[in-house]
Symmetry: C2
Subunit: 197 residues, 2 copies
Amino acid sequence: MYPPSLRALIEAFRTLPGVGEKTAERYALMIAEQPAEETERFASALMNVKTTLRRCTVCGNLTDGEVCSVCKDPQRSHRQIFVVQSAKDVAAMEKTAEYNGVYHVLNGLISPSKGILPEDLNIERLTDRAKEADEVILATSATMDGETTAMYLDRLLKKEYPQLLVTRIAHGLPAGGMLDYADEITLSHALADRRKM
Amino acid sequence: MYPPSLRALIEAFRTLPGVGEKTAERYALMIAEQPAEETERFASALMNVKTTLRRCTVCGNLTDGEVCSVCKDPQRSHRQIFVVQSAKDVAAMEKTAEYNGVYHVLNGLISPSKGILPEDLNIERLTDRAKEADEVILATSATMDGETTAMYLDRLLKKEYPQLLVTRIAHGLPAGGMLDYADEITLSHALADRRKM
């Protein structure tokens, strides 16, 4: 139906999460009709992400440099570590402006059913960092895998550092809810109500 | 919150129709996590559309060559012209597989309120083509601007070619409905029930 170049762009858009045929068509037709400079800007934004974006060597968050802006910030408490599944959870938490510690991004959750084991995640670096910490806040989602991961990390950290305060973010989120979809108030409550594990 | 390279990509995605902050974030984070080759494929699909896609010199449909695949097809009746607002209406109609004539893409609708006048649209070429046609089917959307355009074209074509059969696609579509969102059955009915203007 559509010429091959447009068809290829529709297919590219269809690889995005939640995008079906109709939506991909609308996106591609908008691109087809916009000035070439805007499409060039889009294409180079895509490629820039591949060339400059990387993982923070300290916490695993996304960054354009070596170390992310949170880890570089001397105003923040580096003795409090908020452990999340992914970089978008960091962004969601930062929006509450209620947390002044640092983060640790696991890049996934332990999931026996999907074959994701602790050694596949950014956990070893967390045990190193916990040595210098007063508190580790486990903020994985309120899902099965999120709870499994929190339980595993609690046991691992307590074994290594019996004095360390390990807390779990409060279940203000509805069961099965994803961290990055919660509103800011729910997230703020969840931070305030964290309990000792 | 997010590093500048990722922020720029989120902004690029936000320019797509109907895409808000959350959706743009999800798209950008998926790109951040996919292999570089896939992102390269995406970026070149974007740029290819700008370098190869153009308007068919006969009908105004989108094509990678000079003339679109419908206009090039000798199996189709070139004496029946189906007039639509945009290339996606051609794609929607082709899916019904019930039409064997050719198309004419106006690239918009006459809209006095938006300041779009007949001379801004691909209409002159239509009056040329109508000379060789037996029937012109007006298939603009069932909206105010769609009706205005159909009425304008009817008068224009009848004045020039008093013998020409000018028809209007039937109103199987709900009022205010857009052609490219209608299902195939509704579109098929609308074609079958077209009435002489």
